[in-house]
């Protein structure tokens, strides 16, 4: 058995090269990561279910195909996991909720099917905040698997709602995972665990087979070791899907897919923009890391300060989510199932959504149209808007978020981007005072995933924060 220890934190390209050189087989990789998931997953409350038999079957097939010369691409034979809101044929899908922990949706989500077709190996379904956090949880203990624990410090939160993907990828339990974001659920756990997390343009990735919290706000995206890995995974899962009428009808290709490309940004200068950051909200180390990141970006581009249009982003985003969630989960609430949720505040936190007038929802959608146009105009001349991902490093699981998070974000970009369906990516950019990761976020116009990926790859080629790894006992 080859030594696979160093592979816990390897990138997809490194693992793919090892598979093709014969240094390791897919079955060996699968066994290695299955063992890590089983051994360490419970320490982080990161795993709902290890899919042992499925993984070994798929890995065996991948090895046979690669041996025959049938190469499905860079994800062929690579282990992965999904947030447990993606349906998987024959495997329960809990949505993180105790009353649904044995729910069986007996089909594969489109994303799962595409990853299987690319030869990737499903090793686990990962923990999440119950019902993707739509019921207003206010502290970490909001899942039937317990509070998500941070890869760098198990006394601190992993972030949510894609808590399991955040800590599992951060702790090297799996090379990559699929998460989801309605408003912050990929960025937050990716930022707190020091990994790369990509929120695609709304509709870039089919939502078919994913739990619906908010039909017009939900996005699925990759959570990986590096920005380049995010591009490789998105390259497989993106694209039109007749089963999701909101999927973007044009295919998408990662600009750096295939053999190694020249240094990102080598032949161009990026145009970055910054926003008015509320520095009072940032922990000093977060500010310092952000300012240090801007110095790195100045090596590869220009940075202009801009302002977003004065529009009610959080009001619009929260109204849309509340109303759609109230419809999606009305029966769940009124049937009484809701009272079995783990977080006490989640048990009643959705009820007021049953009362919001239709006029408010429609007006929120009308203002959303204005947001889409005016924000696009404001940022169209830039490759990426650059902001701190979060205001603090992850806080203790024993405290309410209000006691340590400083409101989570310091600019309006999070609300604006999610209301308008804009893509974003976070990558690690340093550490806080307690030794937990901090992050840098790139946001761009709709359909511009390649712009932010190129910028994030260029940043990671000039920094080594993504190569730092936590000690997993």
């Amino acid at each position: 058995m080859p030594d696979t220890t160093s592979r816990a934190f390897a990138s997809i390209r490194e693992l793919a090269a090892d598979l093709r050189s014969g240094a390791v087989t897919s079955v060996q990789l699968a066994k290695y990561f299955l063992d890590r998931l089983q051994k360490h997953g419970p320490k982080f409350n990161a795993v709902v279910r290890v899919t042992h038999d499925v993984a070994l079957d798929q890995a065996g097939q991948a090895d046979e195909e690669l041996k025959r010369g049938q190469d499905r691409g860079l994800l062929h034979g690579i282990p992965y996991a999904v947030k447990d809101l993606l349906a998987t044929k024959g495997i329960p899908t809990s949505w993180g909720a105790a009353p649904l922990k044995d729910q069986l949706i007996d089909e594969d989500a489109t994303v799962v099917g595409r990853l299987r077709a690319a030869g990737a190996v499903l090793c686990a379904k990962l923990s999440m905040v119950e019902l993707a956090g739509g019921f207003g949880y206010k502290q970490a203990n909001a899942s039937f698997t317990g509070p998500g624990l941070n890869a760098w410090d198990k006394t601190c939160w992993s972030g949510g709602s894609s808590s399991g993907p955040g800590s599992a990828v951060g702790a090297g339990l799996i090379p990559f995972a699929i998460g989801s974001e309605t408003w912050g659920s990929i960025m937050t756990p990716s930022g707190y665990n020091g990994i790369a997390g990509l929120r695609p343009t709304y509709g870039r990735v089919s939502r078919h087979g994913a739990m619906a919290l908010s039909w017009t706000m939900d996005k699925l995206g990759p959570m990986c070791r590096t920005a380049d890995d995010c591009g490789l995974v998105l390259n497989v899962i993106a694209g039109p899907d007749p089963l999701d009428p909101t999927s973007i009808p044009t295919p998408w290709t990662y600009a750096r897919v295939g053999p190694a490309k020249p240094e990102a940004g080598a032949h161009r200068r990026f145009r970055f923009a910054t926003l008015d950051v509320d520095f009072d909200k940032l922990e000093p180390e977060v500010r310092k890391n952000y300012e240090g990141s801007l110095e790195v970006l100045k090596q590869i581009g220009t940075i202009d300060a801009i302002k977003l249009p004065d529009l009610p982003y959080p009001v619009v985003a929260s109204t849309i989510i509340s109303c759609e969630m109230g419809a999606a989960f009305g029966e769940f609430m009124t049937s009484g199932d809701v009272w079995e949720l783990s977080a006490p505040e989640d048990r009643w936190g959705g009820f007021s959504n049953l009362l919001i007038p239709a006029r408010d929802y429609i007006n929120a959608l009308r203002i959303r149209g204005r947001i889409q146009k005016e924000v696009d105009t404001a940022i169209k001349d830039f490759d990426a808007i650059v902001t701190p991902t979060l205001n603090t490093e992850a806080g203790p699981i024993t405290q309410k978020f209000t006691e340590w998070s400083r409101g989570f974000v310091s600019t309006e970009i999070s609300g604006a981007a999610n209301a308008a369906g804009l893509p974003g990516i976070t990558v690690p950019n340093g550490f806080g005072a307690r030794g937990l990761p901090t992050g840098l976020e790139f946001t761009s116009r709709a359909l511009s995933e390649n712009s932010i990926l190129e910028a994030a790859v260029a940043f990671q080629q000039r920094t080594d924060w993504h190569k730092r790894t936590p000690v997993i006992e």
Binding site: T216, T319, M333, G336
Partner: protein, 123 residues
């Protein structure tokens, strides 16, 4: 009386007192469950609704509707207070939305288009 029963009584009492204490004694809303198979009876309207509307905040009316529409023994003090805070937030959010200057031509960003199933032609 078992402990469970006592707890339920306390919760019901609390809900009733919260609603009454919030000034709803003058609001003769129907108490029938809307889930009744016979359908809800027509509400008795107050003789002069204007003073009631002026006195009772909309948040309280909404809360009253909610606890009567979806009665539950789980609705204890913490839940009722939490829902009430949420309703106040929702009402404030609705005001903010209403204050935003929209033109008649500002269409909702709906995801909707005409639909017609694909058909196979025999000709």
């Amino acid at each position: 009386m078992r402990q469970d029963d006592r707890s339920r009584m306390l919760r019901r009492d609390f809900t009733r007192q919260f609603v009454l204490g919030a000034g709803l004694s003058a609001v003769p809303l129907t108490t029938a469950s809307a889930a009744s198979s016979d359908g809800p009876p027509a509400p008795k309207l107050p003789e002069d609704p204007a003073p009631v509307a002026a006195e009772v905040p909309p948040e309280v009316l909404l809360l009253t509707y909610l606890v009567r529409r979806y009665p539950s023994d789980h609705l204890d003090e913490v839940a009722i207070q939490g829902i009430f805070r949420d309703i106040r937030g929702d009402v404030a959010r609705g005001r903010a939305l209403a204050e935003f200057p929209l033109r008649n031509s500002d269409e909702p960003a709906f995801v909707y288009s005409a639909y017609r199933a694909a058909t196979v032609s025999n000709s």
